[in-house]
């Protein structure tokens, strides 16, 4: 009989939806006698307990905080206190930006096993095995955690189907541990106005990445997209360099191509953050000079070739 702990996330009192993906991931290694607890820290944790009462959850631990502000030190203190009291074999949380701040530090405080951005997990005998990607998504790595009683994993988002269904978990209130907090919330900055560019609404996107090499090369793709009837999208470096508006950036820190049915990715390697915004699209065509680029693993059609040569020829057809 083992304990599993899932650390929920919330922003401004709204449950981070990927929490339910972390629950689903944890369930894949949960066996009969195991008990799965989810801990939620917020100003009104009881209000979120319902959303966490999904299939497989045996207990919801509520920690009432002074505010909904993200305090990495508080999350770390809660995780450490719970891990010491309960000795869970697995602690799982979504690989969200918040987790980037607290999970590695919590793991070293615990001296636990640790892996981030895990996309699959399983038990082999009594060993926990976590799979993550490496070398720009070109290989997969199975990790083991020899000699660790507890292992903390952050779970890649958009991989596990969020846990659904319902359960009647036990509710446990836990006092917020005393801890020093050194970060203070001052405000939010919303992304700049899209200026009429509509990546989420577009059903056909032609997207360019760092392969475009130079600002001077961008114009021809704007024209090509226009001729083809596509919206021009881009990967992050193109927007960071100021070559295209940020509103065209597809991915985790940009836009989700929510209504897209056809996505042509030219000169884009297929980083996990880019895929976040587009890997769900049914028809992805990748044009890349590197036959091993990870974009080909999610594409329906692939052209191993030069985006400029292909673009030039394409113009003859539209």
């Amino acid at each position: 009989m083992a304990e599993i702990l899932v650390v929920a996330g919330q922003r401004d009192g709204v449950l981070h939806p990927a929490t339910l993906e972390a629950v689903a991931a944890a369930r894949t290694v949960k066996t009969g006698g195991d008990s799965l607890a989810v801990v939620i820290i917020s100003a009104d944790p009881d209000g979120l307990a319902g959303a966490l009462s999904v299939e497989g959850v045996d207990e919801v631990i509520t920690v009432k905080a002074g505010s909904n502000d993200f305090q990495p030190e508080l999350v770390e203190a809660v995780v450490v206190a719970l891990a010491q009291a309960r000795e869970p074999s697995l602690i799982a949380t979504a690989h969200s930006v918040d987790a980037w701040s607290f999970a590695p530090s919590a793991a070293v405080m615990l001296g636990s096993g640790f892996a981030s951005d895990v996309l699959a997990l399983k038990s082999e005998g009594s060993d926990l095995i976590a799979t993550r990607a490496g070398y720009a998504e070109k290989v997969l790595v199975d990790l083991e955690f020899p000699g660790r009683e507890t292992t903390l994993l952050t779970i890649r988002t958009n991989v596990f189907e969020p846990a659904g269904g319902s359960s009647m978990p036990k509710l446990t209130a836990m006092d917020a541990p005393a801890c020093e907090t050194s970060l203070n919330h001052l405000g939010w900055k919303e992304p700049a106005d899209a200026g009429g560019i509509d990546i989420p609404g577009s059903d056909f996107i032609l997207s360019i990445g760092r392969g475009v090499s130079d600002e001077g090369n961008v114009e021809q793709f704007l024209e090509l997209a226009d001729e083809m009837g596509a919206t021009l999208g881009c990967s992050r470096p193109v927007a960071d360099n100021g070559w295209l508006a940020k509103a065209r950036q597809v991915g985790q820190s940009g836009q989700l191509a929510a209504n897209c049915r056809l996505y042509i990715a030219m000169g884009i390697s297929g980083s996990v953050q880019h895929q976040w915004g587009m890997k769900h699209i049914e028809n992805i065509v990748a044009v890349n000079t590197d036959p091993e680029a990870s974009i080909f693993s999610i594409a329906r059609y692939g052209i191993v070739g030069d985006m400029f040569e292909i673009a030039e020829e394409l113009e003859n057809h539209f």
């Binding site: 030190e73 918040d98 070398y135 997969l140 001052l186 900055k189 470096p237």
Partner: protein, 261 residues
């Protein structure tokens, strides 16, 4: 006033590659090495703070890596950092981010900086973990994915933007010294000048091993171990062959089919 920037020499795979015989990594012959993209931004941010303070800050670069990693260190020095620290020991060959953080923590104790920057993640493995693990070991304030920073030497607090999902940013103040992981796009990293590159060869670099830091292979035990590395099963991508004209024609056809035109 001192800013310590941790940089990593990352491995970029060739277009084709083979696994090592033990199946736990790629054969070294198929790597190219480079300074991690994110670390260019971290180094730049430190240099900007130094320059804005009229040179009142020293920028020290640290890397944990073998002789090869010297290139990454010199690249950062060539941009204008003062000096470097390189730690290596053969027992670090299979180090994970927790092990690296344990080594870096000792370097921080030795250097006693006022700020530590890391990249938000490494482009090869993307652990996004080393900096925040380091902060956990030090017990220092910390924030990941910092996309804007307002800090002058002597400030007790820095104002930061944390970049969140969907491009939303959270503005926060953080007590210093702190460990911050720096996000792409926070600045426009400079290229090293020829003069800078020449000077970098002469800049002092402390080369240390684990025992110099009072560490041993046992005290920096990793929090994970690679059991197996393998190429993922490729999806169903249908590769369009032929001449460029034929490939483009087929692509145009696919577009027209799917668009119902």
């Amino acid at each position: 006033m001192k800013i310590l920037v941790a940089v990593k020499q990352v491995s970029v795979l060739d277009d084709e590659f083979e696994m090592r015989d033990d199946g736990r990594d790629v054969d070294e012959d198929f790597f190219e090495k480079d300074l991690n993209e994110f670390d260019h931004f971290a180094v730049e941010e430190a240099l900007l703070i130094k320059e804005a303070s009229g040179g009142e800050a020293e920028v020290v670069i640290v890397t944990v890596g073998d002789d090869d990693a010297d290139d990454a260190l010199r690249t950062a020095l060539a941009k204008g950092a003062e000096r470097g620290v390189r730690v290596w020991d053969d027992s670090l060959v299979d180090a994970d981010s927790v092990t690296i953080a344990k080594v870096l923590a000792k370097v921080v104790e030795r250097e006693d900086p006022d700020m530590v920057f890391t990249g938000a993640q490494s482009v090869d493995f993307g652990h996004a973990a080393t900096g925040m693990a380091l902060a956990g070991l030090l017990g220092w304030p910390h924030a990941a994915v910092v996309s804007k920073l307002d800090f002058k030497p002597g400030d007790e607090n820095a104002t930061i933007h944390r970049e969140l999902e969907g491009g939303l940013e959270e503005i926060m103040s953080v007590t210093c010294p702190a460990v911050l992981s720096i996000q792409l796009g926070i600045n426009q990293p400079r290229y090293a000048s020829l003069r800078g590159i020449r000077q970098a060869r002469q800049k002092p670099v402390d080369e240390l091993d684990l025992s110099d830091l009072g560490l041993s292979a046992e005290t920096v035990k990793a929090a994970s171990r690679v059991r197996r590395m393998y190429a993922p099963e490729r999806g169903q991508a249908e590769i369009i062959e032929g001449s460029v004209a034929e490939q483009a024609a087929r692509l145009a056809e696919i577009v027209k089919e799917l668009r119902g035109a």
